[in-house]
C-alpha cells in the first residue's frame, strides 16, 4: 500500500514561485493559464499488511507534524492499494 501526500501553501500565503511560473507560461503563449500554485508531493511506501485505517491515521500525523508546516501549508492524504 502506498500513501500519496500533497502539500500546498495555504491560499492566504503568497506563492511567488507559482506567480513566476504563471508569468513564464503566459510568456510562452499559454494565455489560458490564469494562475499556478506550487506544492510538494510525497509517495510513502507502507509495509505489507498494515491496517488501512491505522495507516491513514499514521500518515495524517506524519503530514501534520513533519511533511507540512500548518502555519503556512495544508495537505491531502490519498491511500492507494
Amino acid at each position: 500500500m502506498q500513501a500519496l501526500v500533497h502539500v500546498t501553501l495555504k491560499k492566504t500565503v503568497l506563492d511567488p514561485q507559482g506567480r513566476a511560473i504563471t508569468a513564464a507560461l503566459n510568456n510562452l503563449g499559454h494565455a489560458g493559464v490564469a494562475g499556478v500554485r506550487q506544492g510538494k508531493f510525497f509517495e510513502i511506501e507502507l509495509a505489507d499488511g498494515v491496517d488501512p485505517a491505522a495507516a491513514r491515521d499514521q500518515v495524517e500525523r506524519i503530514a501534520r507534524e513533519v511533511l507540512a508546516n500548518p502555519v503556512i501549508e495544508e495537505f491531502t492524504v490519498d491511500l492507494q492499494p
Binding site: 503568497l14 511567488p16 514561485q17 513566476a20
Partner: protein, 231 residues
Amino acid sequence: MKFGVVIFPGSNCDHDALYALESNLGQEAVPIWHQSEDLQGCDAVVLPGGFSYGDYLRAGAIAHFSPVMKAVKRFADSDGLVIGICNGFQALTEAHLLPGALVRNANLHFVCKTVHLAAGTKDSPFTSHCPSTPLAIPVAHGEGRYHADAATLDELERADRIAFRYCDAEGKLTEAANPNGSARHIAGVLSEGRNVLGMMPHPERAADPVMGSTDGRCIFESMIGALSLAS
C-alpha cells in the same frame, strides 16, 4: 559568559558567531554538535545561520528533530536565552519556540546586503542595549519573508514582541526598505517569555570593525548585560 553555538550539518555561520563572541565581545564560546543533548553549562545558546540539513523539506524543518533541539527546548522552557539567526530563526519557528514561519522572499531573490533595522522594543534581554537609531546589519537569505496570520501579528504587536523591523537609514518603514516582503516589516520576533529571539539579519557579521559595521554588537551586549544581572 559562556555561549554555546549549535552546529548542524550545513550550518555555515557557526564560526562567524564563535569568532564574534570570542574575539569581538571577549566571551567564552563553545561549539555544540547537533547530536549532543549536552549544552555544556552554557549561559546562552546561539542557533547560527546556514542551510541545516540542506534545507531539505523546509528551511529549518529537519533541524527541529535533532537531539540538540530537545536540549534547546528544555533550556528555553527554563528561561534560558536563545538567539536564532537566519537559519536559526527558521529552526526556532519550525520547533514552535517562536510563532509564524519564514517563506520564500516575495521577490524570489536571494538577498545578500546590508539593511537597516529599527529595534521594536527595548524591553528584552536582546535589545536593551540597542540604540534608538537604525542598526546597519547584513541579511543573506532566500527564505526570510516573515509570515503569520493576522491574529498572531496583532498579538505580537500588542505584546511588544517585535524585536526588529526593516527600515530605511532614517528609520522609516518604507516598502523599499523591506528586503523580502515580510509581514509588517518584521525582521525579528521574541517568544512570549521574551527569552528567545529569532532574527533574519546577521548581527555576528556586524561585530568586527573590519566588516564595515559593528551595529550587531549591541544585541550580544544586551544578552551579556542581562546574564550579568541574573548571575
